[in-house]
Amino acid sequence: MIVKVQEEDFDVSAECAGMTESKGAGALVTFIGTVRDYSDASDILSLDIEHYPGMTEKELERVSREAAQQYDILDSLIIHRYGVLQPEDKIVLVAVWSRHRATAFDACRFLIDVLKSSAPFWKKEITPQGSRWVTDCPGCRAGSREGHSHAPHAAPHLLHSR
């Protein structure tokens, strides 16, 4: 189980080849998140990703441990970048090794979904009209295949209530 939080780009093949606990795996499932060049309101020139050093690593490690407890996986790797990224740049890699494909798919989906709602990263879109913070979107978090609006929402169980 490896977690990396870094500014620099990564090579997916090289990173996956470096994993030592993946022996015996019949499946490797990877998810790569990339920077879109558009949002609902505007074109995106770049994306500035801020994070909470220290807590970010702890949260990603906690999520990885949770995946290992819930799914019969051999190993996992999460790499998440921060700083200024350009459209098509890689943001995040989630890789899961398991004996069979179903478990690897399920655990990979679990990791990216939980990561999106708990790891302390924040995206700011830089557009021709100026910059704006991306607000939490349940549709994106749920990985909705259908179109969905980007009205501001937040995880209800975590929100401050007055």
Binding site: G33, I49, E50, H51, Y52, G54, M55, K58, E59, H80, I91, V92, I112, L115, K116, S117, S118, A119, P120, F121, W122, K123, K124, W133, V134, T135, D136, C137, P152, A154, A155, L158, L159, H160, S161, R162
Partner: protein
Amino acid sequence: MIHVKFFASVRERVGMAEMQLPCPPGDFSVEEVLTMVEGQAGTELRDVHLLASLNQQHVPFTAPVQDDDEVAFFPPVTGG
């Protein structure tokens, strides 16, 4: 002292990334820390979607705080 950190839109709203606050007497929670922050920064934060962490773990606003703890306030996360 209580070490307070702010991130993303909350950092911009407060106007600083970090703040040190004196430890008040008696029991107190993240909620009281937020009240002190609002007084120091002269801005209301409760009208925005706000999350908190204590010593780098997500917590509800009722979580008790002790001397030398690290408290952070930030908007809902948008990574991945």
